[in-house]
């Protein structure tokens, strides 16, 4: 790890201001991804602002009938919250499908959203990676790409976003709340939170320098049947090859988002109209414009089949 100075944040606004004016500053909360990357010198902050003391760890009702989840709510606590389990089962299921018990005890809501890709070439500093070192090239294209993205890819990057939680939040139309260095707050719909790689895969979200996530808000419960189905190489503690977050109503209508296929949770609202017609019709809309490699082309039929399983489960 490179040396860094350390401070404990006193308020969200002050933390944002310090982060904006301090070269090389980063926030640290759970640290489970950031420290992993710092040990490999993929992240090299020179100043860490510890936000754990900011009391952003409550889950509260909103006046609109939804939930406001503090940025520092640990993944375990979010998954265990009775309101989440009852009204947003998809979110609890997605959280529980991710990482290990130890990591979920430490990882936070905001940190989960901001975690970096697990592309092996991003992690291997001997290899080119446009995300790690802009302009150096992409070793995944033409390399081992079984885990990689099939939707929204670019010539610069085919990495996937690894979060399960984010797939559930995308399905549920969550909103990310932040505070900016000037003290102003903003609300970012999750649909607009992540960027596609394009020519700038190192820019992963629309979060600006110094901007601090303070909460994630869920709209009123949708009802329906909540399912999170994750397909992976081992039964526990592995990232998704493909995952599906779905809310299905009695009449067969609903919503669906995909994990493991793109640089962000992948949802195509227009494709959801086909849900009563079955998996094939929905998958066609979701996967239009797919760009696969010879190693990850299996993800297209896997999405369709997993979706068929999800819709069958919803029917009961």
């Amino acid at each position: 790890m490179k040396p860094f100075t350390y401070e404990r944040a006193k308020s969200p606004t002050e933390a944002a201001a310090v982060a904006a004016r301090t070269q090389g500053a980063k926030f640290i909360a759970g640290g489970t991804n950031l420290l992993d990357l710092m040990k490999l010198q993929i992240e090299t902050p020179t100043h860490l602002i510890d936000v754990n003391g900011l009391a952003l760890d409550k889950i509260e009702h909103t006046p609109e009938g939804g939930l406001r989840i503090g940025a520092l709510v640990r993944n375990t606590d979010l998954a265990a919250d009775q309101r989440v389990r009852r009204d947003y089962g998809l979110l609890a299921r997605a959280l529980l499908a991710g990482a290990s018990g130890q990591l979920r005890n430490r990882a936070t809501t905001a940190g989960n959203l901001l975690q970096r890709t697990r592309c092996p070439y991003f992690y291997d500093s001997n290899m080119p990676c446009n995300k790690r070192q802009p302009g150096s090239g992409c070793a995944a294209i033409g390399g081992f790409s079984r885990q990689h993205a099939v939707m929204g890819v670019s010539d610069a990057c085919i990495a996937t976003h690894p979060s399960d939680m984010a797939v559930a939040l995308r399905t549920l139309d969550a909103v990310v709340e932040t505070v900016r260095p000037d003290g102003s707050a903003r609300s970012i719909p999750i649909a607009e939170f992540y960027r596609l790689p394009g020519d700038t895969p190192h820019l992963e979200t629309v979060v600006e320098r110094g901007e601090l996530i303070t909460a994630v808000t869920l709209p009123r419960p949708l009802g329906g049947i909540h399912i999170y189905r994750k397909v992976r190489d081992r039964a526990s503690y592995a990232f998704a090859l493909v995952s599906i977050g779905a809310v299905v109503q009695r009449d067969g209508t609903g919503r669906v988002a995909l994990g493991g296929v793109a640089h962000k949770p992948w949802r195509v609202e227009a494709a959801e109209a086909a849900m009563p017609r079955g998996a094939k019709a929905v998958a066609q809309g979701l996967l239009a414009g797919a760009k696969t490699t010879h190693e990850n082309a299996f993800k297209l039929p896997l999405v369709e089949r997993t979706l068929a399983a999800v819709l069958a489960e919803a029917k009961g």
């Binding site: 040396p3 404990r8 640290g31 040990k39 290990s100």
Partner: protein
């Protein structure tokens, strides 16, 4: 570095020597690969020292540490509690599992300075050879290990798992999110998936935890 001719050299010191030798090759490599990103750090450069106080196994401890020190290294190298093991050092194997504020975490993926005022329990705090924690006795009885390297992490994790089930925290394999989770083999396997055992003592570990939970193995 200890004298290579010193025959009293312990396994632990030999490993430490080997690690520091391996590390000396790393900076050249890093410099060659990421000159832009590291330029700032190189000018800022010097290690930063910070104070932290916490309770370890009931004892207050005050430390002055390089901010880079993980909780794992603070426990092992500064407080000389080597029961907690360093396996992968990246949160993948669970050998470093300790209990902080009643919760199991990977001590390798957290900085010691982030734990001001925290209550930390390591394997040394759970029990001793003369006065074992029931989970330690059950691991011995059921042969829940072979080489033993992952065992302190397994035991800390197992103790916390039973508390998590008691607290009603659901898991990936809980069929009903709203029903209290039960101590079943399937639940234990899922909940213990963050602890890797290369010797493959998994089924015996499940038996040991099941016994401590009061259910029939």
């Amino acid at each position: 570095m200890p004298n290579p001719g010193d025959l009293t050299l312990s396994r632990r010191h030999l490993l430490i020597g080997a690690t520091s030798a391996a590390v000396t090759t790393a900076p050249t490599l890093a410099k060659a690969q990421a000159p832009v990103a590291n330029a700032q750090a190189a000018t800022v450069g010097a290690p930063s020292i910070s104070k932290v106080s916490f309770l370890v196994n009931g004892k207050p401890r005050d430390l002055q540490l390089d901010t880079r020190t993980t909780l794992l290294d603070a426990l092992r190298e500064h407080l000389h509690l080597p029961g907690t093991k360093k396996g992968c050092d990246h949160g993948q194997c669970g050998a470093c599992t300790v209990i902080v504020g009643g919760r199991r975490i990977n001590s390798c993926l957290t900085l010691a300075v982030m734990h001001e005022g925290d209550k930390i329990t390591t394997i040394e705090g759970l029990g001793t050879p003369e006065n074992q924690h029931p989970m330690q006795s059950a691991f011995v009885k059921h042969d829940g290990y072979q080489c033993g390297y992952c065992t302190p992490g397994q035991v800390c994790s197992a103790v916390a798992v039973l508390d998590e089930i008691k607290a009603g925290i659901p898991s990936h394999v809980s069929a009903d999110l709203l029903a209290p989770p039960q101590v079943t083999a399937v639940e234990l396997r899922e909940r213990m998936s963050g602890n890797i055992c290369r010797c493959g003592a998994y089924s015996n570990i499940v038996d040991a935890i099941t016994e401590v939970s009061g259910r029939k193995a």
